[in-house]
């Protein structure tokens, strides 16, 4: 039995918009096991983004518990959450979200900077990662000098910087053409198979979701269907 790495227990998230209360999540239960490749699918407004924010420790729930490595993080303060995010979770965004003033290498090194790791180790690690995503010859380039696919690979390398257990990819292929998107997905798949990384993928694209072992369908802030593609 693989251990549970993230567990959402009856998680509610309520936003107040003017006088109206909107429940983005309504008692969401979700468990992610170590080494799993999970896809979360759902139409817009289904609570996908809110769920990602919860899983990624970017936000705290209104009600319910979130366990990361069996630790309850739903009551932690902003700075503690930041440290946990930095160490345990690697983010990949639809818009790549690289820092325009930094080179590819510096972008990759950024998460390590906030973990107070010495410069030499950091540089070595960032270089290795860029080589893994096959951008060893683009290290000193700024994001604007890279193609969309290359930028997303830099983002993947950045997500791996602190060797996190979980990679959280929010529509990682949303801004890429299908063949570039395929390359990015195959990188993620390789990370899952070879490195044993837990990958949580959020997408609305069925083809992209097929890379995952398990697909959870979300609607109205709740899981409405689970699809286990590999078993186990």
């Amino acid at each position: 039995m693989r251990k549970s790495i993230i567990k959402l227990e009856n998680v509610w998230k309520t936003y107040t918009m003017g006088n109206v209360e909107v429940n983005a999540l309504q008692g969401l239960n979700l468990e992610v096991k170590e080494g799993e490749f999970l896809a979360i699918m759902g139409p817009s407004g289904s609570g996908k983004s809110t769920a990602v924010n919860m899983i990624g420790c970017l936000d705290v729930p209104t009600k319910g518990r979130i366990l990361l490595d069996a630790h309850d993080i739903s009551k932690l303060g902003e700075s503690e959450l930041a440290q946990i995010r930095g160490r345990k979770i690697g983010f990949i965004f639809q818009q790549f979200n690289l820092i325009p003033t930094l080179t590819a290498l510096e972008n990759v090194a950024l998460p390590i900077v906030f973990q107070s790791v010495d410069r030499e180790t950091r540089r070595k690690r960032s270089t290795e990662l860029l080589e893994i995503v096959e951008l060893g010859d683009r290290m000193e380039h700024k994001p604007t000098e890279l193609s969309g696919g290359q930028q997303q690979r830099v983002a993947i390398a950045r997500a791996l910087a602190n060797n996190p257990e979980v990679i959280l990819a929010d529509e990682p292929t949303g801004n890429l053409d299908s063949s570039t998107g395929e390359t990015v997905m195959s990188f993620l798949q390789k990370l899952n198979r070879k490195e044993g990384k837990t990958i949580i993928l959020v997408t609305h694209d069925k083809n992209v979701a097929t890379h995952a072992d398990r697909i959870e369908f979300l609607k109205d802030g709740k899981i409405i269907k689970s699809l286990n593609r590999k078993g186990g």
């Binding site: 970017l58 930041a82 930094l102 510096e106 410069r119």
Partner: protein
């Protein structure tokens, strides 16, 4: 270590837009003004200190009351009897009564009006020590010199007092009487003192018969171990009684050398302080400018802040990055300000010296330079505090969603 965050801030600054550099300009002006003003302040303070050390803090002046420069008001004066009385007083070392009067100086058929001083040649060393001057050309006046004068520094310069500088041995006339220039004093650094003429006491009494035994002021030194300010008090009391005057209605006043310098220093400091205050107002403007620039920068980089938070930046990291960046803006302005202030003060000092005010000489101690730089950095960082705090408190979810 914050080293990487510092590097990140610097990298961001390099990308800054014109708007930020205009902000730098505003802090530059304030720092340049403050730096230049303080450099003059330091220069004057050092001049005063040197003067005090060279001529000694043991000196006292007794001056006749009256309007204008000492010796110019004939209604009030000090006499030989006063000098004799004081010379016997306990604690008094050397003493001299000095004549002072305006005179008409003629050279090359041009007439000018300056001060003439009559000095007892026996006491010339004492006078020179007190005023921290020395002969640079020729010789001192000595006993028996009747038509001979030692001249202030400026007389030997071309185009300063007279079109052609006076040379040793040249004939001049004082109030129509022929005199020979026998020596020149070194530069004092203000145009008034550098235009004085010095003749013997005897010559002065011949030149100004109605001023005989009417000294402009008395100068004395206190004996070793005597506190000048206490001696001044004692002199004031004893001389008042000697002259049969009521307390508070004396026709003279006593000042220690240090008092005199302190008065001078206070005036300079007040003037300088007011100017620095005005310069500080420009820094307030710079402060607001930096704050404004930083608020705009934070709005522009909201998403970047979200990304940094997502990858593990704590609130304190973000606060530091933006405050440091803001401080750097200030520091760059300060650095440019110090350079410009240095240039302005140096030029100002030269102009002052060319006009005879050599004592207005700016000085740039390392502490002043570092102080101004540190100050400009702190002004920048302080201006960045509220914007940086806002940035640090952004919720990562909201910041990431920002377009």
């Amino acid at each position: 270590m914050r080293r990487d965050e510092i590097i990140y801030s610097i990298q961001n600054l390099r990308k800054r837009k014109l708007r930020s550099w205009l902000t730098v300009l505003s802090i530059l002006i304030g720092i340049a003004a403050i730096f230049a003003l303080l450099s003059f302040g330091v220069g004057i303070q050092n001049y005063v200190n040197t003067l005090a050390d060279e001529s000694g803090r043991d000196k006292l002046f007794i001056q006749a009351r009256g309007i204008g420069a000492p010796g110019t008001d004939d209604n009030f004066f000090l006499t030989d009897e006063d000098v004799n009385f004081l010379s016997k007083l306990k604690g008094v070392d050397e003493i001299i009564g000095m004549y002072f009067s305006g005179g008409e100086i003629e050279f090359d058929n041009v007439r000018k009006y300056y001060f003439v001083s009559g000095i007892d040649p026996d006491k010339i060393d004492f006078v020179e020590e007190t005023f921290a001057v020395s002969i640079i050309k020729g010789r001192h006046i000595k006993e028996g010199d009747l038509n001979k004068a030692v001249l202030g520094y400026n007389y030997q310069l071309d185009g300063k007092i007279f079109k052609k500088g006076i040379k040793l041995g040249d004939k001049i006339s004082i109030n129509g009487n022929p005199y020979e220039a026998i020596g020149f004093y070194d530069e004092v650094g203000n145009p008034q003192d550098d235009a004085n003429l010095y003749i013997t006491k005897e010559a002065f009494e011949q030149l100004y018969p109605n001023k005989k035994n009417k000294f402009g002021f008395i100068m004395l030194s206190s004996q070793n171990g005597v506190i000048p300010s206490e001696l001044a008090e004692r002199i004031k009391e004893r001389l008042r009684k000697f002259k049969n005057q009521d307390e508070g209605k004396e026709d003279f006043f006593v000042q220690t050398f240090e008092d005199a310098l302190a008065t001078f220093t206070t005036i300079i400091n007040v003037i300088n302080g007011v100017l620095v205050l005005i310069a500080l107002i420009s820094l307030v403007v710079a402060f607001v400018n930096i704050m404004n620039t930083m608020y705009t920068a934070i709005i522009e980089r909201t998403k970047e802040i979200g990304v940094m938070k997502a990858v593990g930046a704590r609130n304190s990291d973000i606060l530091f990055i933006f405050m440091f960046e803001s401080g750097l803006l200030g520091l760059i302005g300060g650095l440019a300000g110090v350079i410009i202030g240095y240039v302005v003060a140096s030029i100002g000092g030269r102009i002052a010296a060319a006009n005879g005010f050599a004592l207005l000489k700016p000085e740039f101690p390392i502490m002043l330079i570092f102080g101004c730089l540190l100050f400009s950095f702190l002004v920048g960082a302080a201006a960045g505090y509220f914007p940086a705090r806002r940035a640090s408190r952004l919720k990562p979810v909201d910041a990431l969603r920002y377009e």
